[in-house]
Subunit: 409 residues, 2 copies
């Protein structure tokens, strides 16, 4: 039921020099599906990531954090679907490290040069033996081709209904640079699946400091702007790998940084929107623009409060221009000294709230018209300042309950 | 579909000396149902209340706050269902005041001695003329009897499926004191209805200062501990009226204060639990006990985070002991430096999480057994301190979506 979302066209993806991708069927949770993905990075690649804020951060997240903090160059990324390796204690940490060791042995690098990622069921121990058994096949399939990006996007899926991948190319220092990313969702937290993983690779040459800055700035403008159900997963991870294979001067900052950031942001925003479009049970893709806030942080709080309200989300499912729920959600954001008489709200091109009350020009049939399409834009004007933020989300349908009530059965 | 919730037995309710109740069919939203309730208080009654924190506080909430702050004695409470008089600007304030004036004229008191309450659709103007037209019938029905408490509980309902009323009696200074309360829900916010109203009356003699303290302390231990969907209504109001008709010494504090507080708290907790039992689409009544927190506020945050998680709520609907979702929700509460290896969790009498991981003794069939009944207790031990809190909630079912998607159609 994904909203206006097609599988990626492999021919439209760009290979990234310095990146090879492999995949295999490890049978981690279910047999007969690709559930293991290996990304091998050329020597000299730089990697930076951001991770979940959930207190129960999964074992692979803890290992990633430690290995990135140690500053060892990264040569490989290994991802399994079907098991989150979360809530698994010391045994889980050992399992994540053993996975890294197996990859290191297979491709000939050090254990500390491998980053592990897991997504799937929480509180079950990771069957590392199955990963080890599948690694030879995974390694044998390593290749740089465009189609391998599409296969990689499939191999990290859990309950995603559509694989998510996209590319951009950009000129830096007279050289064409590729940016390709893949992600899986399908919520901040998934039906017992733990959850969002996103990997973007580029052959750009970027200093470690600039890359660390880039991953945070891009995450804030993309994945941190999408929500399905407001639940933050234990395994959320977003990583950028820059292989440095392009023949331009290393990017430290300045115009080249902004150019690369724009391309990576476009890829990340596209992937983030794919996640909302493929949100559990989604029938609508909803963009919430909040402007006129005292700060962008304040705008973000208001947008998230609207996006998280079950009453707002069920109204979108019903294509019901239920204005009362929208102002309830704004009022519920806890904004100090909000002057409600300055609040305006638009659904699509229709002004529905004017100065905190129903717009005099508003007709129910206009509201019904703009609520009908599969894509809806909500615009809120708070009248307090220049702060703005955009959040993408989806509606709550019967299928959201169905998917989440029936997931384990 | 309310969970183990029967309509109040009028014979089990206690009349409260100094309180008379009337009701009428005003046809505010629908014809042929009682939607207007008048509570008349004897001279010398004291009233205190707490109100919604939503920035879009409804017009009647604003009027109540102003009139209570002015310190004028209160002689009447008027409640309409079917229209929230919220998001209605100056015209809404004028409508609330006009309602007070009409009541004052009808019963012979000052406009400032009447508190107005509204619950129902947001962003529509209150048809005060219908209230005015129904007031003579409402006044004519004023009586102190037990059955009038039951009628009053019915007259304030919106999409509640069961009326909510309960009584306690308690001895103070050798005198029997009555406490009777009514409430309506059926969520922190209701399908476009705005929402929780609760009124408790007692003939106890209480000073204004003690009553103001009492209403806050009782609200924190009762209505502030219940959640259906995490959305806070624009009209939430909880009021205690003490008529002072009992022949004991005025309560300022001390043991008598605690005795009265216990009785009022029991009434408020019962009504709060009724609201969760009658939560939209509810099939389960869930009690979440969090202990071992650094503070009771911290325990409350964790309990609410569990209670608000759509993934946890759909798992309860499915009777699915989905442990991963429970630890995700705890980890998502934003508790600084939470040592997850000290966290334990019980479903009913079954220990499911031990030291942050799946309990070795846990068997899936035990989890399935305790998730099956209509009433489930979740107990979380954080291992940080002495802070504790309890929250009551319900599950998310297909009917939650159905009720909220179809409400206006």
């Amino acid at each position: 039921m994904a909203v206006n979302l097609m599988p990626p066209d492999a021919a439209a993806l760009l290979a990234v020099p310095g990146v090879e991708l492999g995949y295999a069927e490890a049978g981690i949770r279910k047999a007969g599906r690709r559930d293991l993905m290996l990304m091998q990075l050329a020597p000299g690649s730089r990697v930076a990531g951001v991770f979940t804020q959930n207190s129960f951060a999964a074992a692979p997240v803890q290992v990633c954090r430690a290995q990135l903090a140690a500053g060892t160059p990264i040569r490989a990324i290994i991802v399994n679907a079907g098991n989150a390796n979360c809530g698994t204690g010391e045994q889980g940490l050992a399992a994540a490290r053993r996975t890294c060791k197996a990859v290191a042995d297979a491709i000939g690098c050090a254990e500390a040069e491998v980053l592990p990622f897991s997504t799937g069921v929480i509180l079950e121990h990771l069957p590392v033996d199955r990963i080890e058994a599948a690694l030879p096949a995974c390694k044998a399939s390593l290749a740089a081709g465009q189609d391998h990006w599409a296969f990689a996007a499939q191999a990290i899926m859990t309950t995603d209904t559509v694989a998510k991948a996209v590319s951009r190319s950009v000129m830096i220092g007279g050289v064409q640079v590729s940016v390709t990313g893949i992600a899986k969702g399908v919520g901040m937290l998934q039906p017992n699946m733990a959850t969002m993983l996103a990997f973007i690779a580029t052959d750009a040459v970027v200093t470690q400091g600039a890359l660390a800055r880039l991953v945070k700035e891009v995450a804030d403008a993309s994945f941190n702007r999408v929500t399905v159900d407001g639940d933050t997963s234990t395994n959320d991870s977003f990583v950028i790998a820059a292989t440095g294979q392009a023949a331009h001067k290393a990017i430290e900052g300045g115009a080249d940084y902004e150019t690369l950031k724009r391309a990576i942001s476009e890829v990340a925003v596209h992937l983030a929107q794919c996640i909302a479009r493929d949100g559990e049970g989604a029938t609508k893709f909803i963009t919430i623009d909040v402007v006129g806030a005292a700060s962008s942080a304040e705008a973000h709080v208001v947008a998230k409060c609207i996006a998280h309200s079950p009453l707002v989300k069920t109204a979108f499912f019903a294509s019901d221009p239920n204005l009362g729920r929208l102002i309830m959600a704004i009022g519920n954001a806890g904004i100090a000294a909000l002057d409600t008489s300055r609040v305006n709200l638009y659904l699509g091109d229709v002004k529905v709230i004017d100065c905190g009350g129903r717009a005099a020009s508003y007709r129910e049939e206009d509201g019904a018209r703009v609520m009908k399409p599969a894509e809806i834009v909500v615009r809120v004007e708070l009248g307090r300042g220049e702060g703005a933020a955009t959040v993408w989300t989806c509606d709550y349908s019967y299928d959201y309950v169905k998917i989440n009530a029936e997931y384990r059965t």
